[in-house]
Symmetry: C3
Subunit: 360 residues, 3 copies
Amino acid sequence: MAASAINETTVTVEQIVAATGGTLAGQIDKSISIRTIASLADAQATDISWVDSKKWLATAQESKAAIIIGARSVLGSDHPKALLVEDTQAAVANVLELFAPPADQPAVGVHPSAAVDETANVAATARIGAHVRIGPGAVVGEHAIVHAGVSIGAYTQVGAACELFGGVVIYERCTLGARVRIHANAVIGADGFGYIFRDGQHRKLKHIGTVVIEDDVEIGANTTIDRAKVGETRVGRGTKIDNLVMVAHNVQIGPACIIVGHVGLSGSVRLGAGCVLGGHVGVADGIYLADGTQVSAKSGIMNDFETPGTRIFGIPAQEHTAAKRELLQVRRLPKALKRISELEKKVAELEGAANDRETG
Amino acid sequence: MAASAINETTVTVEQIVAATGGTLAGQIDKSISIRTIASLADAQATDISWVDSKKWLATAQESKAAIIIGARSVLGSDHPKALLVEDTQAAVANVLELFAPPADQPAVGVHPSAAVDETANVAATARIGAHVRIGPGAVVGEHAIVHAGVSIGAYTQVGAACELFGGVVIYERCTLGARVRIHANAVIGADGFGYIFRDGQHRKLKHIGTVVIEDDVEIGANTTIDRAKVGETRVGRGTKIDNLVMVAHNVQIGPACIIVGHVGLSGSVRLGAGCVLGGHVGVADGIYLADGTQVSAKSGIMNDFETPGTRIFGIPAQEHTAAKRELLQVRRLPKALKRISELEKKVAELEGAANDRETG
Amino acid sequence: MAASAINETTVTVEQIVAATGGTLAGQIDKSISIRTIASLADAQATDISWVDSKKWLATAQESKAAIIIGARSVLGSDHPKALLVEDTQAAVANVLELFAPPADQPAVGVHPSAAVDETANVAATARIGAHVRIGPGAVVGEHAIVHAGVSIGAYTQVGAACELFGGVVIYERCTLGARVRIHANAVIGADGFGYIFRDGQHRKLKHIGTVVIEDDVEIGANTTIDRAKVGETRVGRGTKIDNLVMVAHNVQIGPACIIVGHVGLSGSVRLGAGCVLGGHVGVADGIYLADGTQVSAKSGIMNDFETPGTRIFGIPAQEHTAAKRELLQVRRLPKALKRISELEKKVAELEGAANDRETG
């Protein structure tokens, strides 16, 4: 089948050992080829797999994989299939790169169907796909990859080695650093959602600001990042944003954050460095979360959290321990209500007895 | 008006009776034409409507509709406008098909503006619209319909009679079965959201797996289904997914599920057959839901539910009866707190009396 | 830098005074140019800023801005930088318009790469961008702006002065009034999510209805508005919808509503005029919210609210005061449980004493 055929790269055991810096525990011929990397359950006799917890040792035992990557502390020293490494996840990351099939990307140069304004500045090493539109004064850096159907607005700057997947729309005057990856149909720089209510209608506020995406940011499919009213909306270096996330006007996201699917950040929210927001989290207007704040999925944040590294959850979100205790106590409500009923019965009896004594 | 003109197909009462297998209760000329099917409130004297519950009988009475589809148990046997059927909803489905206007679809063949790689294999009966991009080695099956601006990645396979609406992006090496419908601007096969944190930054894990969409699946507008890290993300036969849903890497969705708007399924989630997930539901990493699990809207699922057919809701989700009792008890909290105060008062009185006795 | 260069329009103090109808409190040369409008913190000595609350007076004091817009009640009468106005927000709106850079829009006429059906009716003053597709019988009004990669379905009508941003897909037979703005990659008119379960599978209901968007509506990026099963899905005049919102089939939204990001409206929901729905709000099938209903973020609405102007929140949503009281009482649970324990102790002592008396 053609689709799997392109997956079949030739990677030898020797290459894998070199890429991981690991040690084979058993007798394995280093010259043989490995077909791919697969999960323990799916791996065939020609494949490599991995195990990163003793919890999965039984599954590893049953796996057909030829080689299993893992730490000595998990696999022991003499597992016949073991490729022993210091850092299993990093080794897996290296092996994934070995087996990655060739990328599907446009040829170097500009596809004849692209509409590139004559005042745009596209690097000669960039790859511009079919039906791309690049506006006046826009800049596309060296080795950038712009997939089919992307639109780059006027005076927008796309840094070196950026990759914009199919259908991405970047409005005018936005700035992307180097190596920014934006997945398909994401939208950068649409107007912020700002109106004032006058004379019975919502009057639009012009959003004359912009969006700045720093180096090494990755943005998921169908995510939207709105432009600022004035100034800029900013996503910090190395931050990773999942699919279908909404980042409103004037939001400031620090470096190295992780923002999971369906998160909504309202206008002027500020996140410090290294914050982690779970799926469906919502943050109200202007809220500040300090460096390293960790927010559980589905939380709604209505107050600042100024202590770095705080774990929070709930609607409205509170510190993790308090929120958890609250949840547990709600679970104990049936019992509490029963205890109240029993108390009422006993107190009634005591009152009865007291009355008896008084009237007796 | 042109837009409504194309709605005006000619459908006779006779055709409707034949399509529904129903029986006219009154004296209605079978040769007359019906303009369209409309709700009871909107229907004009030239239209057909339906009623599927006695709750709407009064509205049916006031409706101008010429014919009303319904069951004998709802409409009775001698309603002059009744078209009596066994299965009202199925009859309505049949009538909707009778009145469906001609579809807006590209002509058979490849639009001259499309960019189709010479190594792609597009069936002669397929319809490829304007500004479509089809990558190297891709396959498009017989009678497939590919609307304007769609991008089909390298080595991706699109089965027979699939329909991909405007702006859909399918990355490389994905597989769609037969009759899959994907609505506009949905994205299939973007990278999963996977990183490891090393040396102060998030290192990307290459996602070398793929996405498999089985036969007869329908996927809503702006929904995203990410490719697997290794192996595949899979959507089972006949499952229906609404708009703006997020399906993460390596998720396995069983057949015949219903997944409503804004649902987020985290990495490696597994859903059995026939699960139903309400709007805004979130499911945490690796969770398993057995066949027929029903999840109420806005729930957050943090545990496996292994008993088939369980109804669940809440954040975190629990079995429906327990969750509902909990909600009710929270509603009763004001009363409980009052009962505690009263008990405290009474106990203080009893203690006072006891003290009086001891010191008296 | 080219990107910022285009921001540099020449606006004099005199123009600003005229546009705001305000009064300069100090001695400011009306002929000097102002570079842009910026926040108090970001403004340079060449900029104008604003203050709309005494809370920010200290920040205003430290701001480098040359001019600060504000009300006399906030800034006092003799602040040397003050531009005193009656309505600060309206004045800011006027000034934003003064500084708005030239728009990035296609030239008047049809871009040569666009695919416009010969039966479509495109006004001569309309601007049709690159790689646009316009279907048979479609109408595009005077001065409409259709950005790159948009698809307009057969017989769809786009009113005068509408603006459709990049990648928007409008299916067939929809109607947009005048001055409707739809942001990038939004989807109008996809099939509603309707199936009936028969013979072990979900049978699709054809959605033969349409979508009507009234005048002056704005719709955010990646939002989806589904077509009706029969009749129409309707968005009322002047309503503003944020990004990533889901509006299901047959929903009726009144005029002048505000609907924030990630809201999900299920089938046949009806909103009155001037409703405000916060982020992540979900509304169940067929629910009715009266005029001016205000829903807090993350609420889930499962009942009608028929009293105009009701504020609601929670899952399930209830009237604001009741919901808030409930939250507070849950927060008091730890204390309540402690009170129960103390009561149990005291009652046990009282019972012990009573037993002593009886057996003593």
